[in-house]
């Protein structure tokens, strides 16, 4: 039961992660030429959001895992 649940969680994480990554990349592309302080911060935040989505997907796929996890 727990193994099945973990499997579902991993699959969901990968699919939603792909969506989030695409959204972050598209938003970055659209905002790339925008100026102003808050827009620069937005671009930084969106880049890190994309990085987070990649890390989340790699963790869900079992590619990345720390020492104290199962």
């Amino acid at each position: 039961m727990n193994a099945t649940l973990a499997h579902v969680e991993r699959i969901l994480a990968v699919f939603v992660g792909i969506t989030v990554l695409l959204v972050a990349l598209i938003a970055l592309r659209n905002d790339w030429k925008s100026t102003g302080l808050e827009n620069q911060v937005f671009k930084l935040m969106l880049s890190l959001l994309g990085l987070g989505a990649i890390l989340g997907m790699l963790a869900a796929l079992g590619v990345l895992a720390g020492k104290g996890v199962e």
Partner: protein, 205 residues
């Protein structure tokens, strides 16, 4: 112009209200002030993160003896839920900029729901590890302090977005004057980005 835009109280007689001079002059200052607040928050998180990493690298090794394993599948899904809420909040602000009030309100509500889902996932994680870990030990203290502090920020963010949504619905913001909505979005992205770091040090390192 859309129907949603016409029904919004920020529009008077079908014409957009123009920002006044004071608003234009002080907008940048308010954004800078909020960014300074975020920097101070970043310093707070950084202090705890460096303390945790120092203790982890100079202590008895990791994971500490008897510590339960963290559930990476749940954490990955929970993380993606939070990152997804960052995307939905971005949609919300973009819709406001394009004068689609209904879509803006819907995306903010989705963001709030996703934030609440993330907090629920955190509670599940706490319950799962509480039996084995309890609150004893410096490593457990580090985990609970950092994730708890982040969870508190998410909780505050949910209240922040709820208030912003109520104010926007009441007509406090117009499609030309919406600094508060921009700052709310910035705060939510900040909370997302902090979790990228926390997720990495607790689950990937």
């Amino acid at each position: 112009m859309t129907t949603a835009a016409v029904t919004h109280p920020g529009l008077v007689g079908g014409h957009a209200e123009q920002p006044d001079q004071l608003y234009v002059e002080t907008r940048e200052l308010r954004v800078q002030g909020f960014l300074l607040f975020m920097v101070s928050d970043l310093v707070l998180f950084s202090s705890f993160i460096f303390a945790y990493l120092y203790l982890r690298n100079t202590g008895q090794g990791w994971p500490p003896p008897g510590a339960p394993k963290l559930d990476i599948a749940l954490a990955a899904l929970n993380s993606i839920v939070l990152f997804g809420s960052g995307a939905t909040m971005h949609f919300a602000l973009e819709n406001w900029k394009h004068e689609h009030f209904i879509k803006f309100a819907n995306w903010v509500m989705v963001t709030i729901v996703l934030g609440a889902l993330f907090l629920s996932g955190q509670v599940i994680e706490y319950v799962k590890i509480a039996a084995g870990w309890g609150s004893s030990g410096i490593f457990g203290a580090g985990f609970y302090t950092l994730t708890g502090m982040h969870g508190f920020h998410v909780f505050c963010g949910i209240i922040f977005l709820t208030i912003l949504l109520m104010q926007a619905t009441a007509g406090k913001y117009t499609f030309q004057k919406y600094t508060g909505l921009t700052l709310g979005t910035l705060y939510w992205h900040f909370v997302d980005v902090i979790w990228v770091v926390l997720f990495s040090i607790f689950y990937l390192y």
